[in-house]
């Protein structure tokens, strides 16, 4: 069934999508988080009347503006790609994906773009309070945009609230609230925006630390460190919590991804949590974590609040297992068979519809509906196709978690030193804050690698594998646009870094009314 699709087209389309999404996500977290920090600083100015807060607000707003301008509309390219490179997928999910993205476009984006103009052009033209409300609405609009996009993404990881229409070949939404408030959507939204706030806090902390190292703008830098370290510590702890709840959800709905994140080949009761480790290929040719520093029983405890609970490994997901709650997970071979039955039933249904035999139509439809939740497995030739790239998932996950823990430590120390009013005396912490800026970007990108590569081979969990989602178009055209994007994105990134660094070197315009 997959013979007619050129896999190199799929691979190039994937590479292009990954490039675009990862580039887009360089800008998104700073926009989401910095908008909050700006609104807090402006609130402090309005409340205290201290002009230094206004100077700080205007300075961070400038950096926010640069980041926003370079990043704005890079996400639209993803929508181009949906229509050209991923037409099967776009049609298949159209009704589900369309609704949240339409709400995002109408409500959130317009809100964000209207109030951003007041935020930048409105100083001394509108009242203090109206300007402040605009700043908060920019924050709200940006984060609402994120909500709808993450809801759409979460649906792909956990397709709920829909029914497949075999006449139109589309999934149709039957329960908007189930899509919006699924545990996966909520976990994804909170974990992603909290991580974005964390990145922005580190950005402000790092840039402010640089001023202290250079002995410039000391008072404003200290004020910025105060806000960013308190905000950063709060959100980093919440990120840890949301990451934990998110992992539990993954363990339930995407056990293969969970096993890959942990490098767990054979399932275990009293499963250990790998703190750090290396993967090696076993005799079945699959990577697993063998050389590790681990805490016995902690993975079982964190996942099911029971240190003796069973955590399925890659082998168990392939061969089938019974969960701690008694739910039976079928072996992949069996799901492949059922998936093929669903695909054949859909074909029969369509051909019987043309012939008009009501009995045969009902028979095919019944068979199709019974096996639809195995549909995507029907495109697999072997159970091994259900395994994602383990090394990328495993290492990205552990890098993300390790950096997250490092950031918590960093915020605790910064908070303590700023409270004691001694931070400028500890140059090593100032350097550490500065060095952590690129590390925060690495951590957020790793998060997306875990989310998106870890769920492979699925573009829609259990229903549509990535190789079926792609349009059967000429590989060369995808290659050409891939390289155009690489050139365009590199140029934009260089431009952003250059403009950003110039403005950081200039620093806040003190005494600017």
């Amino acid at each position: 069934m997959t013979d007619s699709i050129d896999l190199s087209t799929v691979d190039w389309s994937r590479a292009q999508f990954a490039l675009t999404a990862m580039f887009h996500y360089i800008f998104v977290p700073l926009t989401l988080g910095l908008s909050f920090i700006i609104a807090v600083m402006e609130s402090l100015w309005v409340k205290t009347g201290n002009e230094e807060w206004k100077t700080a607000t205007k300075f961070w707003m400038k950096l926010f503006g640069i980041n926003f301008a370079i990043g704005v509309s890079t996400g639209i390219i993803l929508e181009f790609e949906f229509g050209t490179n991923w037409s099967n997928y776009s049609w298949f999910v159209g009704d589900i994906f369309g609704a949240p993205l339409a709400v995002e476009g109408i409500m959130a984006f317009f809100m964000e773009s209207t109030f951003i103009a007041i935020m930048f052009f409105g100083w001394n033209k509108v009242s203090k309070k109206y300007h402040l409300i605009s700043s908060w609405l920019v924050f709200l609009g940006a984060n609402l945009s994120a909500l709808w996009i993450l809801v759409a993404n979460a649906w792909m990881q956990n397709p709920v609230g829909m029914v497949f229409n075999p006449d139109t070949a589309r999934n149709e939404m039957i329960d908007f609230w189930a899509v919006l408030f699924s545990a996966t959507a909520m976990n994804k939204f909170f974990h992603t925006i909290l991580a974005a706030f964390l990145l922005a806090s580190i950005f402000v902390l790092g840039v402010s630390s640089w001023y202290l190292l250079k002995k410039r703008h000391i008072s404003i830098a200290k004020k910025s460190i105060l806000v960013s370290s308190i905000f950063g510590l709060s959100v980093s702890l919440l990120t840890l919590y949301s990451g934990d709840t998110s992992s539990r959800d993954i363990a339930k709905i995407q056990p293969m991804k969970f096993a890959a994140m942990e490098g767990l080949y054979e399932g275990k009761t009293h499963a250990p949590l790998v703190l750090a480790g290396f993967l090696s290929t076993n005799k079945e040719g699959i990577e697993e974590c063998k050389h590790a520093i681990e805490v016995p029983g902690l993975l079982s405890l964190m996942t099911h609040y029971n240190s003796q609970s069973f955590i399925p490994g890659i082998k168990d997901v392939i061969n089938g297992y019974t969960s701690n709650e008694g739910k039976i997970y079928l072996p992949i071979t069996e799901r492949i068979t059922k998936g093929k039955i669903a695909i054949n039933a859909l074909r029969d249904y369509k051909s019987q519809k043309k012939k008009g035999s009501a009995l045969e139509i009902d028979k095919s439809l019944k068979l199709f509906k019974e096996n639809y939740h195995h549909f995507g497995y029907g495109y697999m030739k072997s159970p091994k196709e259900a395994i994602p790239n383990i090394s990328l998932t495993f290492y990205s996950f552990h890098i993300m978690v390790s950096l997250g823990l490092l950031f918590i430590l960093l915020f605790i120390v910064s908070c303590f030193l700023v409270y004691k009013d001694k931070i400028e005396k500890y140059r090593w912490i100032l350097w550490a804050n500065l060095i952590c800026i690129p590390l925060a970007y690495i951590a957020t990108q790793c998060g997306w690698i875990v989310a998106e590569l870890g769920r492979q081979p699925w573009v829609v969990q259990d229903l549509m594998p990535t190789k079926i989602a792609a349009t059967n178009i000429d590989t060369t055209s995808v290659q050409i646009t891939f390289w155009i994007f690489t050139l365009l994105f590199t140029t934009l990134l260089i431009a952003e870094i250059k403009i950003l660094l110039t403005q950081i070197k200039k620093g806040p315009k003190e005494g600017d009314k």
């Binding site: 509309s73 037409s87 369509k350």
Partner: protein, 87 residues
């Protein structure tokens, strides 16, 4: 008669307030762009170049919507996808 005059004055007032509001908003944006610092102008130039590349080059020459370009009706599109999914 007096009701018609009242309605006429009311519409005139609303119209003039609306026009004033539009004028003020336009003035607000005009002044904002006019007094923009050089880094802001640079950013707008980047945004415009980026949008031109995206919509006038990439979208037109490389990213036509495959289904819209090849099929006229929703039914044809659906049939094509089912054919893709079941062949």
């Amino acid at each position: 008669m007096s009701r018609a005059i009242f309605f006429h004055i009311f519409v005139k007032n609303v119209y003039s307030k609306l026009m004033n509001m539009i004028k003020n908003i336009a003035q607000f944006y005009f002044n904002g762009f006019k007094n923009m610092p050089s880094w802001g102008r640079k950013l707008w130039l980047i945004i415009l170049i980026k949008l031109f590349v995206m919509f006038a080059i990439l979208k037109i020459f490389f990213f036509s919507n495959y289904l819209n370009a090849n099929f006229d009706t929703e039914e044809e599109k659906g049939d094509f996808i089912i054919e893709q999914l079941t062949k």
